[in-house]
């Protein structure tokens, strides 16, 4: 049980009690450098998981809700949105691509707009953390670690206490609004298509992605692939490429779903240095115990001495 709350953990499923021979830990490697922003992942996810509609602000099912955030009218991950494609428009210095000499008079140097617009697109998802705060704090046991190493809500157990929601350092899981029949009141998030994994299929989003921006597979393999891809991009003059969530030494013990980004994480709405809150829980309990003993001692001491 060492490193159960924090630090690198080779096999979270084994830590959760699955016997030897359980399936390997799987995950997503989302390579945003090839994302074209088609939102096929969002659509495939909604369809496969039969998710109800939700507006860009997630509390009213208003299909016409416009955010004014580039092409992103989804807004954020939520209880009925397990994949969210972020769109960022940036004005950056223009990169000159080598021109083909056609023998025409060259345009005058140093004129025109020295900037250009760069698009960043990234399909966000639950990180299926190695140390998942949502799972740690769930009081009912509705949130579990699966045999595949992913994190899953059992809807028939969840009582909607809402604790998992502020516990998640990435702002992924949320409470579904709306009628009971559609799951209203319960907490929902990406299941990594648990129902497809069992049948040997890939999650719907990875299957639908036309550019292989979303890659699914055993986590070890994905990490190797990501390192290779990063090296290639650095070679090809994309020094801003970086991996996010791949490192087992990070604050959550590494993500089951990690990313290749082209800018700082917070630009995409991701926390730059997330830490699982339960890392500090032993210390919290110690402080609470000392504080409770302070109360007990104060009350007891206040009865000392005679009465008037």
């Amino acid at each position: 049980m060492s490193n159960s709350l924090y630090g690198p953990l080779a096999d979270p499923s084994a830590d959760a009690g699955y016997p030897d021979g359980h399936p390997p830990r799987v995950g997503f490697f989302t390579d945003t450098s090839v994302c074209i922003g088609c939102k096929a992942c969002e659509v495939a996810c909604k369809e496969w998981n039969a998710l109800p509609a939700d507006g860009a602000h997630h509390d009213q099912p208003d299909l016409l809700d416009l955010t004014g955030m580039s092409y992103d009218n989804t807004g954020a991950l939520g209880a009925s949105t397990y994949r969210h494609v972020a769109f960022i428009e940036q004005t950056v210095p223009r990169r000159e691509s080598p021109t083909v000499d056609l023998g025409m008079p060259a345009p005058p140097e140093g004129r025109g707009d020295p900037t250009e617009v760069r698009w960043l697109m990234s399909s966000d998802v639950c990180k299926h953390c190695t140390h998942a705060a949502c799972l740690d704090v769930c009081p009912t046991g509705a949130l579990i670690r699966t045999e595949h190493g992913t994190v899953l809500v059992q809807d028939d157990i969840c009582n909607g206490c809402g604790y998992c929601i502020p516990a998640c350092p990435y702002g992924v899981i949320d409470q579904r609004k709306g009628p009971k029949e559609l799951g209203g009141g319960g907490a929902f998030k990406c299941t990594m298509c648990q129902d497809r994994l069992g049948a040997g299929l890939q999650p719907a989003c990875a299957t639908a992605c036309p550019t292989e921006s979303i890659q699914f597979g055993p986590l070890d393999e994905l990490r190797e692939r990501a390192d290779a891809r990063l090296a290639t991009l650095h070679e090809h003059g994309v020094p801003e490429a970086r991996l996010y969530g791949h490192d087992p030494d990070d604050g959550v013990g590494g993500d089951g779903a990690f990313f290749l980004l082209l800018d700082e994480p917070e630009v995409y709405g991701l926390p730059p240095d997330p830490v699982v809150t339960t890392r500090d829980l032993p210390s919290m309990w110690r402080h609470a115990a000392v504080a409770a003993l302070t109360v007990a001692a104060t009350v007891a001491a206040s009865f000392v001495g005679g009465r008037r």
Partner: protein
């Protein structure tokens, strides 16, 4: 409102999700749970030392507080009919699970003690239950601090060392304050109330000094105002409690009642303020990004020094 600090975000959207916990349900649960915990301990010792008036007030406050706490907790659930799922497992990593296992026996024991008080039946069992509730009482006053702190909400998490003491103080001020409403010898309640007020004020001051960037959530806007009101009421209440002891007699009792009301107002305002500070810090991405960036910069600087 975005604090003035250099940081980037995704269209100013929050990074973490705000708690779906409702007001007044949850702050009320924090306040009354604390008041009930202290009251049960006071009642148990009042019983054992022969202070019937203090025992009666304490037992009723303990039960009332526990009942409203449970009610608020259940009302706050997205699926209230499944509230018993809280007792499906025992999970030390979930303060809400631990809390449910503290609150349920506490409520049951406080209920037995109060029922025996009301009916006059089975005084022996009432005393036993009352002592049991009194032993669990202190845990009632501080587990809720861990409940808030064990989240990604910056203003709560960053304050995890101070919040248990802040809540303990607030709970003693409230429970002692209820005790001051009793007739007869209320000296122990007075001492608990004044000590609680002092602990609450000290812990708040330490928290605001130590917490770093999230200080702003506690000192400005609505939470800042609530906490200012709380501080004023707590100081005035503690002063009135001391005055009541000095004056004695009818005027002393009146001062004690005023103290009880003020201290409870202060305790409640503290819980609403702390709750609100967390909400503010959850909605603004700066509270998540800036401290994390500072942490990364400090780490890099340390690594460079080592080279």
């Amino acid at each position: 409102m975005v604090p003035d600090a250099e940081f980037t975000s995704y269209y100013g959207r929050p990074i973490i999700k705000s708690p779906t916990w409702k007001v007044p349900d949850v702050p009320l649960y924090l306040y009354l749970g604390g008041a009930a915990g202290t009251s049960a301990s006071l009642a148990a010792l009042a019983d054992l030392t022969g202070r019937p008036a203090l025992r009666i007030v304490g037992r009723y406050t303990a039960l009332g507080g526990a009942l409203v706490s449970v009610g608020a907790l259940v009302h706050d659930l997205g699926r209230p009919t499944r509230f018993l799922n809280m007792l499906r497992v025992i999970k030390p990593t979930s303060p809400l699970s631990v809390g449910s296992w503290i609150l349920s026996p506490f409520g049951t024991l406080a209920g037995i003690a109060a029922a025996s008080e009301l009916t006059g039946l089975l005084p022996g069992i009432g005393r036993l239950a009352g002592v049991g509730a009194g032993l669990v009482g202190p845990a009632m006053t501080t587990y809720t601090a861990v409940l808030l702190a064990n989240t990604a909400v910056p203003a709560w998490h960053e304050g995890y060392q101070e919040l248990p003491f802040l809540f303990a103080g607030s709970a003693m001020a409230a429970g002692g304050g209820f005790g001051l409403l009793a007739t007869g010898d209320v000296t122990p309640a007075r001492r608990v109330a004044v000590a609680g007020a002092a602990l609450e004020l000290t812990a708040t001051a330490v928290l605001e000094r130590r917490i770093g960037f999230a200080r702003k959530a506690y000192t400005t806007g609505r939470p800042g105002m609530l906490l200012k009101v709380a501080r004023a009421a707590t100081v005035a209440g503690a002063a009135a409690a001391v005055a009541g002891g000095v004056l004695g007699g009818r005027r002393g009792r009146l001062a004690g009642i005023a103290a009880g009301v003020l201290l409870n107002a202060g305790s409640a305002a503290t819980r609403f303020g702390v709750f609100d500070a967390g909400m503010v810090s959850a909605k603004d991405p700066a509270y998540t990004v800036v401290p994390q960036r500072e942490r990364m910069a400090a780490r890099e600087a340390a690594a460079e020094r080592e080279v």
